[in-house]
Subunit: 115 residues, 2 copies
DNA sequence: AGCAATAGGGCGAAATTTATCCCTATGCAA
DNA sequence: TTGCATAGGGATAAATTTCGCCCTATTGCT
């Protein structure tokens, strides 16, 4: 795994939440898991732009941060299901607020971002 | 400026808000500007971990996205003041929600993040 | 036998972001 | 005159994140 060279700053709530949500696909993973897409292959199909490698890595991080939990079914072919922990569920309203702001300002943002 | 090589995905509100908030210091800049720290040098003192270069870059991006606006006073030594636009102000409640979640779960997060 | 789906890790390269260093300019204070 | 504060950009290096390719394993279908 990669060793950070620049020390973390964990001063305030904003630093802390950033530590667990910062990652290109993490918010989306949480969202889709909350939406009922539990299996890695389903999530990959919902997020086709992400390489499967990174989804695995980010799922592992979300699990390490206790936002999701994982059940491995001892069958072949392998079957795995993720779900939000109670802690993870408390993030859903936060993510809703983010998404809502983006939706409300959709046109304007699209225009601004595309220069 | 840097030219992106991987196409943006701007499908949903979450993608859109990420486009304007993703950046190590952006949220903090918005927060402090809202808090009344208007001048670049003040902001640099409030965020000593960031190099002044990156703060400038991120301030420019926030301005390009119309979240903040800039007034240049034609004096020497130079004086500049930033403030939130009306659009930028609508982000403050969103940022509050993020910070509140982080604050509420402060101990747990600190422990999880530090392994 | 050959191929697809399932899950996931190793590893190196590419993409992207952030940090560092250096330079310009003006006015004021010691 | 030297040094500091002000604001900010260019160029380049370093850090970090994400991508892409390859390999393992099992079951079932054709």
């Amino acid at each position: 795994m990669y060793e950070k060279k620049i020390p973390l700053s964990l001063n305030c709530g904003l630093d802390l939440i950033a530590e667990v949500l910062y990652g290109k696909w993490k918010i989306r993973l949480l969202w889709f898991i909350n939406d009922g897409y539990k299996r890695p292959s389903e999530l990959q199909r919902k997020i086709p732009d992400a390489s499967r490698r990174v989804l695995n890595v980010q799922l592992n991080e979300l699990e390490a941060h206790e936002l999701i939990s994982k059940v491995i079914f001892p069958v072949a072919p392998p079957k795995v299901e993720y779900s939000l922990t109670e802690f993870g569920k408390t993030l859903i309203p936060v993510i809703s607020v983010l998404g809502a702001w983006g939706d409300e300002n959709q046109e304007r943002l699209r225009q601004l971002i595309l220069k």
